[in-house]
Point group: C2
Chain length 173, copies 2
């Protein structure tokens, strides 16, 4: 925290630098000991053990790798965030959305590594995801937010319970 | 309303009568002027104009048929409800769910024709959908409920805002 100095390239004005296929450099993060950069990607070629490590770092319960793989495969959009330092690349953020490819999308599994939190990178990750969903003509972007992140999502333009609409979860009788 | 006398076949105890592929007869509905029956189906071969008529009957805004078709195609599960009278078949209910095929599902577009409301058929339709999702090993079944149907879904075991989790919708800044 405070170790990194973030220099964002405006995602609206600047044309993103294309890295690999599915990649877009949208933010530069400079460390005190040199420089690294943050890269966003929609590529689904993710080391699932690296993803598990990221999820463990924020305290999420372990999930079967086979099911995580299936969930990624059947998500409509996946946006990952990587720290690049020279030839090294580290997964520092993840997000995905399910969708009917026409009207609705629902965002799941938004995670930013604790070392990279508090710098606007979660916001940048979400903006990438929303931008991608909008480019696919999805008009209804939804999510279920834990109490401690409701304000974070509100800051991004998400409204809780609009017009009294309630998010509900099913539990067996 | 009150015109129909419903005779449900318990979905747990009785083995459903198989009709066409993807069909299961789970309820018998008898009319005063003779008899019809209600059939549930997971078949996606739906006349989209008949679906539009059903949605209009409950006051929903018209949606582009091409987009509705795409949404159905990319839904994980579709459950429809039909009234059968002799050789005639009429679409009287619809529901669908998006999913990552692994952990989460979200239910959309639940509709029962006004002539068939108030008889437990909406509940029967939802039970079919939930049963199908559970059979696919989905553990987290979610939806966004308009205020007037929150109690309906609560009666089916759905909880609003469990542990403070908020349903949120994105709107542009």
């Amino acid at each position: 925290m405070g170790f990194w100095k973030s220099l964002f390239i405006g995602s609206e004005s600047a044309s993103p630098v294309q890295a690999n296929s599915g990649d877009a450099v949208l933010a530069e993060v400079t460390g005190q000991d040199g420089s690294g950069r943050i890269v966003f990607s929609t590529d689904r070629e993710i080391d699932l053990y690296e993803l598990e490590e990221l999820c463990s770092a924020v305290g999420w319960a372990r999930r079967p790798v086979r099911k995580v793989q299936k969930a990624i495969q059947h998500s409509f959009v996946v946006v990952t965030m990587w720290e690049e330092k020279g030839a090294r690349r580290r997964l520092v953020g993840f997000s995905r959305a399910t969708s009917d490819h026409a009207f609705n999308a629902t965002i799941w599994d938004v995670v930013v590594h604790p070392d990279f939190q508090g710098q606007g990178l979660g916001k940048a990750l979400m903006k990438q995801l929303i931008k991608k969903l909008r480019s696919e003509d999805i008009s209804n972007v939804t999510l279920f937010a834990d109490p401690q992140v409701v304000e974070f999502y509100r800051g991004l333009g998400f409204m809780p319970d609009p017009e009294g609409i309630k998010g509900m979860f099913w539990y067996p009788d």
